[in-house]
Amino acid sequence: MDLTPVDRVSGRDLGGGGGLLDRTLPDPIKFVLNWGRRYSLWVFNFGLACCAIEFIATSMSRHDFIRLGVIPFAHGPRQADLMVVSGTVTDKMAPAVRRLYEQMPEPKYVISFGACSNCGGPYWDSYCVTKGVDQLIPVDVYVPGCPPRPEALLQGILRLQDKIAGEPVSLRGGARGRAGQAAALTAALVRPPATGEGRP
């Protein structure tokens, strides 16, 4: 699971400092802002393999992650706060994963669900499988397992919410300053294969 050091007393991420807003806002306001963020995570399921079934099970009534404030499902990446990459990421799929991540608005979080998206899993030596989705996008929480049980995802969500609670506050949300990505949002679509002649 996630091992980012968080100072529980001040509630600040020890890894990086906050901006002006973080230094000037009173602590109760910051608490309320992060409290709102952590309990309304619209989730976007990047389901690629069998792990997606476990993810769907987690969203259903028995495990029901909506009680933790994770709302299934965002209509698309542009409405989502949290992306759960569940399944085997292949090199051919990698550009799509990256592109949909870029389309999510800040603040955005990623949970890597299962051995395949953590590190390649059983396909670690394959010619076509990406060795972990963290080679493409920053990952906040890794959930181990093959596939992990729904309880493991619930635990991963709790760890993510702990992390959000400790984030420095800014108007734009997330702690990652990630400027200069507008070009990725307006990049041309992937050209589809030619149709018509020659297609049997």
């Binding site: 292949t90 090199d91 051919k92 590190c119 390649g120 670690w124 030596d125 394959s126 010619y127 076509c128 060795k131 020659g198 297609r199 049997p200």
Partner: protein, 199 residues
């Protein structure tokens, strides 16, 4: 018909057609595979007879192998590449494996697309995975691999370079993670001797 009868019948049809055309027929072997109660008819044909054999199997009224199931390749190393097609008769509920071999230095074979249009994607996959070139295919280009991929990954001599770049991330022996003892590092299987250990 039993699988053995299907194989005999198909081999006989191909043999007579080849003799009629003045070709050699001795290379056609037929039989069943070792699947016991679920065995399948197997017919081995020389590679020039590949497309005529598929057409005969499709058009013979008793065989009626008109459903193309799948086509794939086998890397036999020194024996070249095997190409296997599975045909099925929906009406009679019997099937047959049609096999051939192409040489490793020039893996060319006639495409089955004029006989079974559904073979197109199977042949494209066999082309990219094994490097077998199907003559007469309307659009022989990679189907599944990412753009710019070089090599034929299902050939036995294709080295899985990630085995060198990244060791198996898990523990290799029971209890290894508790004791901290690690096994002697070995060259990963399939990686050539002269490759550096830590690339």
């Amino acid at each position: 018909m039993t699988p053995a009868q299907v194989a005999d019948r198909l081999a006989q049809a191909i043999r007579s057609a080849l003799e009629h055309a003045g070709g050699r027929s001795a290379e056609i072997a037929s039989g069943v595979d070792d699947g016991r109660d679920w065995c399948s008819a197997v017919v081995d044909v020389p590679s020039p007879a590949w497309r005529p054999a598929a057409r005969l199997a499709r058009d013979d009224p008793d065989l009626d192998l008109s459903y193309f199931d799948w086509l794939s390749g086998v890397d036999e190393q020194d024996g070249g590449f095997g190409v296997v097609a599975h045909l099925w008769s929906v009406r009679h509920r019997h099937g047959a494996l049609l096999r051939t071999t192409v040489p490793r230095d020039e893996p060319r074979l006639a495409s089955l697309v004029p006989v079974f249009a559904g073979a197109a994607w199977h042949e494209r996959e066999t082309f990219e995975m094994f490097g077998v070139i199907f003559d007469g295919h309307p659009r022989l280009e990679p189907l599944l691999l990412p753009d710019g991929f070089t090599g034929h990954p299902l050939r036995k001599d294709f080295v899985l370079a990630s085995r060198v770049a990244k060791e198996w991330p898990g523990a290799k022996e029971p209890g290894e993670s508790h004791t901290g003892a690690t096994r002697r590092r070995m060259r990963p299987p399939g990686v050539p001797e002269d490759w550096p250990r830590d690339a």
